[in-house]
């Protein structure tokens, strides 16, 4: 297998793009990534796009062909990849494998979701499709409800509190306030979260990531030629994808996401490093409890201590391990299929030392963690400065 590097990145602002459609968003991200890569464009021989639900959200399927056409990339193949909220991460892995295997030299990988064309109730129902339709959704499950079941169990087993969860949202809004691409750039307090409307006990509105339009893209190349095109290629040193049961009730434990633990262990093994070597990480905080479980299951903190660590500021910009410098899903927004790619874009900015007001000093190694559904798919990537 060849070594693979990111040589170009681009993304749209995340938010409510009432005046712009699916194709505008994905093309903006793609063109920015191409410009950043230093390629002419003719070198690209394949593309992948992470997208969860364009058929339900905007009535458009066959988006691989749509993008190839609208980007002027015909006749190269562009393949849509779907793994619910992990669609972006899985698409990145497909691009990585295509370059690593030697099947393709230069590959563009995008992620996109256009979510605000529908009302909130319909969007929630569509997102529910990431769980088990027949045995969860049909019986009244919602995604906040499923993560609330995990939160309750985490509170029961480890004494995690609602304030600890709230502190994750406060920290992510603080980071998001420094990110011009973030959907929400306002700071909030613990009280903002605690006083917000209950969604699924104990999760309140401010414990939940929003509905977002947006797109992100990266360009991949073999590491050995990457420097010819871009002065600061970022190597992908590990790419791991793990599956678990589709329904939350079939898991052995609710206070952890087992697929995260397995993916992290494998990724660290491949990269020959330990969690302590990671300088900055983007983790999947679709709900505040999800970030607490992620930082434990990835090995940054002992099981059960994630909530306390968050409350103590250990995951802030100047903390032990800065988590979600982009603002995470909570504050930067969560255009489902784009999230996994946005995470890679943010880590690339960090490792290039181009993250401006949210730059982590001396960041050499970064990690991304992308979750589909309630944990049925997890993708972990590790990136290194070259």
């Amino acid at each position: 297998m060849r070594k693979v590097a990111i040589i170009g990145i681009g993304m749209t602002k995340f938010g409510e793009h009432w005046e712009r459609g699916f194709r505008n968003l994905v093309i903006e991200a793609g063109i920015k990534a191409m410009e950043d890569s230093g390629l002419q464009g003719n070198e690209i021989s394949a593309g992948y796009v992470g997208n969860m639900a364009s058929g339900s959200l905007i009535g458009q399927e066959h988006v691989g062909a749509l993008i190839a056409d609208q980007m002027g990339l015909n006749p190269i193949p562009i393949t849509r990849v779907e793994a619910a909220c992990a669609s972006g991460g899985v698409a990145l892995r497909q691009g990585y494998l295509a370059v690593a295997s030697g099947a393709h030299d230069f590959v563009v990988v995008g992620g996109v979701e256009k979510m605000n064309d529908l009302d909130t109730t319909s969007v929630s129902e569509i997102l529910g499709g990431a769980g088990d339709e027949e045995w969860e959704l049909f019986l009244g499950a919602t995604f906040p409800g499923l993560y609330a079941l995990m939160a309750k169990r985490h509170m029961y087993e480890y004494g995690t509190t609602e304030e600890m969860m709230a502190s994750v949202a406060v920290k992510n809004h603080e980071h998001g306030s420094r990110n011009p691409y973030a959907q929400f750039q306002n700071k909030i307090t613990i009280d903002t979260v605690m006083n917000s409307k209950m969604v699924a006990d104990p999760l309140k509105v401010f414990d939940c990531s929003p509905i977002t339009d947006g797109a992100a893209a990266v360009v991949l190349a073999p590491l050995d030629v990457a420097k010819k095109y871009n002065a600061q290629p970022i190597e992908i040193v590990a790419s791991v994808q793990i599956s678990d049961t589709i329904a939350l009730h079939s898991r052995e434990k609710l206070s952890e996401i087992k697929a995260t633990k397995i993916a992290a262990q494998k990724a660290f093994e491949i990269a020959k490093i330990t969690p302590k070597d990671i300088n900055v990480a983007e983790v999947h905080d679709c709900f505040t409890i999800a970030e607490i479980m992620a930082i434990e299951d990835l090995g940054f903190f002992k099981k059960g201590e994630g909530g306390k660590a968050s409350l103590e500021g250990k995951t802030g910009l100047n903390g032990e391990i800065p988590i979600n410098t982009s603002g995470g899903l909570k504050s930067a927004g969560h255009p489902v299929g784009a999230t996994g790619i946005k995470q890679a874009v943010e880590i690339t900015w960090q490792l290039r030392e181009k993250a401006e007001a949210r730059q982590v000093a001396d960041a050499e190694i970064g990690l991304t963690h992308n979750v589909g559904g309630s944990g049925a798919t997890v993708v972990v990537h590790i990136f290194k400065k070259t």
């Binding site: 109730t121 929630s124 129902e125 529910g128 339709e133 027949e134 045995w135 969860e136 959704l137 049909f138 019986l139 009244g140 499950a141 919602t142 906040p144 409800g145 609330a148 079941l149 995990m150 939160a151 309750k152 169990r153 029961y156 409307k197 209950m198 969604v199 699924a200 006990d201 104990p202 999760l203 329904a247 939350l248 009730h249 079939s250 609710l254």
Partner: protein
């Protein structure tokens, strides 16, 4: 969540009577039923097994922003139940208020209307759960 008539019809034995499966090779009971035993895979042998529906509350929440079809029931208590005969299952806890429920409480399955698609659509029925400790007390719902 709207469901098609054929899908609803297919699931009636499972939803009305908790019809699950038992793998006779590894002696694991599965509800909801599985088509393949994930432990034994092709070597497994699955037979019909009816669950009694008794169990304990493994985790629960109270949902305030409902799934579609559940608007009339808000807020509702939603739980994962550890069934006595094996398997965890998702379901509602009814005839109780949030403060009545604790992790570890004993529950039994009851047959209820689960949701209606819309005024002219299907009415769905199936299992929900009730706290055993509340069984003898008359509960005023209003």
């Amino acid at each position: 969540m709207k469901e098609s008539i054929p899908l609803t019809w297919r699931r009636i034995p499972e939803r009305y009577r908790m019809k699950g499966v038992k793998c006779t090779i590894c002696s694991t009971n599965y509800f909801p039923p599985r088509i393949v035993c994930p432990k034994c895979r092709r070597k497994g042998k699955l037979e019909t097994f009816y669950f009694k529906g008794n169990g304990t509350v493994y985790s629960f929440t109270e949902i305030h922003s409902p799934a579609s079809g559940f608007e009339e029931q808000v807020p509702y208590i939603f739980a994962i139940i550890d069934l006595d005969e094996g398997s965890h299952v998702t379901g509602q806890i009814v005839d109780a208020r949030k403060d009545d429920v604790k992790i570890g409480d004993r529950v039994e399955a009851v047959f209820r209307k689960t949701q209606s698609d819309d005024p002219e659509g299907l009415i769905h029925y199936g299992f929900k759960f009730r706290l055993i400790k509340n069984k003898k007390t008359e509960i005023k719902l209003m």
